[in-house]
């Protein structure tokens, strides 16, 4: 199919696609030529002509590696870029289904009024209008692609599917016309493209018995301002060339179902399992089946061109081996990725443990010992000080404790009694005798009587004086006065002991504080020592885990290396066959090349597909968010199998909860919108019965979405569908209105006609 390579580049990224082709030694032009050949000869009954084309293309490849151009219309020459933007300007139908003759003219697209509204009751021709465009553009191919998208159970060889198309066309012939004996049904479509006007007409001729055959179908294209018939290259099949031109200038048939569709089609999409729906949608938009069909045709070609059974088997075996090796390699790589995923957190844990252990500091044991020694030493100091304190307290300090009043009083008493004692000592017998001798020696001497009388009187007086200071009169008479001085010294110095006690108390206080700090340090160090042990134990476990995983990783690396080397050997053998180095006979060499190309194409598609799904998922996400009134879905994820996840902001798949029928339908619409949006060809959208069975809020959103696209949008509505408030909603965006009416003929042989205007407006 023409354009398939361009489509692939759009979704897969042109650089990635080019790289994939390069990686598999496949020239894009060769692929393009093969695809074009297959597309141009599609439905041609048997494949003789296709295989002849393959002969030419592969023969050229075999000869010099360049793509044969002769006899093959390649898009690389005639299609410089993507399909062109286009709008539908007119549709004319003659004897097509319910219409005997109908004409619709649509104004030039203005982006603020992109909508054309066509109203019609059921059976009045809405579907006939839609199918006129579809079959007018694509003929048999339309049916096949629609089938493939929506009815995969209808799969089968192309030739087997030709019959339903004939039956459909024969039934589409306007019944009154048949009755009148007319022979022609026709659809005429007028487009404005960025290359200028393009008009397409397809006529179907019917024989008297109402039958039609492929040869009875005529497609004609006119283009340019003068609407000249599009020239056909010499030797080219006119019908096939025109068919290709439609795909090239407008859009490929495979994406048509996403531009031209009805509510029933959406419903069918919605009811399918999501994965199939999405996979088919993406495959359709990419035209992947065109690639697959080409691959299949290439293999058939190889068989047909007589590749000997032995060689074919040899090739098949090599291919199978290559596939097996690739699968093994992919499994191994997945296992490595998985291992790395396990290793990464373990390594982070190990680093963190090492950092923690480092932070605890080394030499923990030595520090601990120091702390214990210090504690012991301080403890001893304290014990010693306490003993000193006790000793001091019970001696000098005890005296101080008595208090200054009593100490002072006692000292005063002692001093007084001391002086009294000294005075008392003066009246001794010796002193008396000395006094008497001194009196005797005085002049003039006394006579004996006088002397006796004087002595007597002195002795009495002495005795009185001596008796006046008795020791019994003192408070502390029991003390020897010789002790007084030492006692007074003690009493006077006692208060100084208080300061000594206070000093010792202060030192003890400091010691106790230091000991408490030390105790805390010892406890903390002990905890850390335990932590250190725990961390080291953890580290050991983690390191063992890492070692085990790394061992497995090394084994896997070896396996991977072995697989790659085996793959390289197989690839070399396959290449040898592919480039025809094995066979002597040219036909067989071409057949071998065909098999190699088929295989390379398969690989390219496989490589590019995941990226295509990713970019497509982004487009579906955008559309889904615009369409769904439930703001729960944050992201649509699509994996290469087409499995869909509708992820909310919390990362949960909301499909695990529930998805209503309406939501499914919205998803289908989003899929359609995404295809239309992502395809780089702004083609008109033709939607039959767009609102179907949607709930009111979704109706508004669907209408809003499809009527604000920068593309022509033709809505085919039932009387009560786009009407009332929905009509009011899009009123200002409508550029043209038509109404389909029935004009009855006798015997039910009437037909539909188109009038300008719309249904009477019902209350909003």
């Amino acid at each position: 199919m023409t354009g398939a390579l361009e489509l692939l580049s759009v979704y897969g990224g042109s650089e990635r696609v080019a790289a994939a082709f390069a990686a598999h030694d496949l020239a894009p032009d060769l692929a393009r030529a093969l695809l074009a050949a297959r597309a141009s000869l599609f439905g041609a009954g048997n494949r003789r002509r296709l295989f002849t084309q393959f002969d030419a293309i592969l023969g050229q490849e075999q000869a010099d590696g360049t793509v044969a151009q002769e006899g093959v219309q390649t898009t690389s020459e005639s299609s410089p870029g993507s399909p062109q933007a286009a709008q539908l300007r007119g549709v004319k139908m003659r004897n097509w289904k319910v219409f005997a003759r109908a004409e619709f003219d649509f104004p030039r697209l203005s982006t603020d009024r992109p909508v054309c509204l066509i109203g019609g009751k059921n059976g009045y021709g809405k579907t006939s209008f839609l199918e006129a465009i579809l079959f007018g553009l694509y003929g048999q191919r339309a049916l096949l692609d629609v089938d493939r998208t929506l009815r995969p159970d209808a799969a089968g060889p192309a030739s087997a599917r030709a019959t339903p198309y004939r039956q459909l066309i024969e039934r589409a012939f306007h019944e009154p016309a048949r009755a009148r004996g007319e022979e022609v049904a026709a659809v005429h479509l007028a487009f404005d493209t960025s290359d200028g006007p393009l008009e397409i007409e397809r006529r179907w001729y019917f024989r008297a018995d109402g039958r039609s055959s492929p040869e009875d179908e005529v497609l004609t294209l006119w283009a340019g301002d003068d609407l000249d018939a599009v020239p056909v290259p010499e030797g080219e099949d006119v019908q096939l060339f025109y068919q290709e031109e439609i795909a090239r200038r407008l859009m490929p048939a495979s994406v048509a179902p996403f531009f031209l569709f009805d509510g029933e089609q959406v419903k069918r999409l919605a009811e399918r399992k999501m994965a199939d729906q999405v996979r088919l949608g993406i495959e359709s938009v990419l035209g992947l089946h065109a690639w697959r069909d080409t691959i299949s045709d290439l293999r058939d070609y190889a068989r047909d061109r007589g590749l000997s059974d032995g060689r074919a088997e040899d090739y098949a075996r090599l291919s199978t081996t290559a596939d097996t090796l690739e699968a093994e390699r992919e499994n191994t790589m997945a296992a490595i990725v998985d291992l790395e995923a396990q290793l990464s957190p373990l390594r982070a844990r190990r680093d963190s443990l090492l950092a923690d252990i480092g932070a605890l500091g080394g030499g923990t044991f030595a520090s601990m010992q120091d702390l214990h020694e210090r504690r012991h030493s301080l403890g001893q100091q304290r014990q010693h000080l306490q003993a000193e304190l006790a000793q001091a307290a019970s001696h000098a300090f005890a005296l101080a404790l008595v208090g200054q009043p009593l100490l002072g009083r006692t000292a005063r008493t002692l001093r007084r009694e001391s002086s009294q004692a000294v005075a008392g000592e003066g009246f001794s017998a010796d002193a008396l005798e000395a006094l008497l001798s001194a009196i005797d020696a005085d002049d003039p001497p006394l006579d004996a009587a006088e002397r006796e009388a004087v002595h007597e009187r002195v002795r009495r007086g002495w005795a009185r004086l001596a008796n006046a200071t008795p020791s019994e009169g003192r408070l502390h008479h029991y003390l020897d006065v010789r002790l007084h001085n030492r006692m007074l010294e003690r009493l006077d110095s006692a208060p100084a002991a208080v300061a000594g006690i206070q000093d010792k108390v202060a030192v003890l206080r400091r010691l106790e504080t230091e000991l408490a700090t030390l105790e805390a340090a010892i406890v903390e160090r002990g905890t850390r020592q335990q932590s250190d042990q725990d961390l080291r134990e953890d580290l050991r476990t983690v390191s063992e885990g890492i070692e085990a995983l790394e061992q497995r990783r090394r084994t896997l690396d070896q396996t991977l290396g072995r697989l790659k080397s085996q793959e390289a050997q197989i690839a070399e053998k396959l290449d040898a066959r592919r480039f025809g180095r094995q066979s002597d006979e040219p036909a067989q060499r071409r057949a071998e090349i065909a098999l190699g190309v088929a295989r390379a194409l398969e690989q390219v598609i496989k490589t590019v597909t995941p990226t295509c799904f990713e970019s497509f998922a982004l487009a579906v996400t955008r559309a889904y968010k615009a369409l769904s009134h439930k703001a729960v879905v944050d992201r649509v994820g699509i994996d290469p199998d087409g499995a869909v996840t509708l992820v909310d902001r919390q990362g949960r798949d909301v499909r695990n909860f529930d998805l209503s029928a309406g939501e499914s339908q919205i998803f289908a619409m989003a899929l359609i919108a995404a295809v239309a949006d992502t395809a780089r060809c702004p083609m008109p959208l033709v939607i039959d019965t767009p609102l179907g069975r949607l709930d009111p809020d979704h109706r508004e959103r669907i209408l809003e979405f499809f009527t604000t696209q920068p593309r022509q949008t033709i809505l085919l509505s039932q009387p009560d569908e786009v009407n009332g408030r929905y009509l009011a909603q899009i009123q200002h965006r409508i550029a043209a209105r038509y109404r389909l009416d029935h004009e009855g003929g006798a015997g039910g042989l009437g037909g539909s006609v188109a009038h300008e205007g719309y249904f009477p407006t019902v209350a909003a």
């Binding site: 306490q386 003993a387 304190l389 006790a390 307290a393 019970s394 001696h395 300090f397 005890a398 005296l399 101080a400 404790l401 008595v402 208090g403 200054q404 009043p405 009593l406 100490l407 009083r409 006692t410 008493t413 002692l414 019994e472 009169g473 003192r474 408070l475 502390h476 008479h477 029991y478 003390l479 020897d480 002790l483 030492r486 006692m487 003690r490 009493l491 208060p495 208080v498 300061a499 006690i501 206070q502 010792k504 108390v505 003890l508 206080r509 106790e512």
Partner: protein, 149 residues
Amino acid sequence: MTTPHPVHLLDLLRADFRTTEAADGLNSALQKALSLPYRYQPARLALAKSLSVSIHPTLEGDLRGKPIKGETLFGQEEVDLALWVALIVEHAERPGATRRDIQDLVAAHWSRGVEALWADWLAGGEDAVAFFERLADNPARALAEQKQP
């Protein structure tokens, strides 16, 4: 009728001193609490504590506490004994006190003092250093006041 002999220091060196059984119990408890090696140490502190109070102590109860020799209670040196006896006599203002008088006075002071010290011990949070700190506090304050002009 015999008149009582005034006390002689030498008699007191050899004499036994006791207090009540209850006070002696507190004395042992305080000795243990303060980790003091000898019984005389809390006893001597108790005497001092009581002597710091000017009111005379009165003794209640019989003297069934364990005895301490005078030379142990007051000190081996004569001057130590002389000092303590002088303080007790001075406090009692009792001239001509007999040995028995001195023993009774010691018993009363010891009892009153050890009760006061035990109260201090409890008030200090049963902490030895805090106990001595509080004990030194009063004489230190008195000293400081004395030095003030």
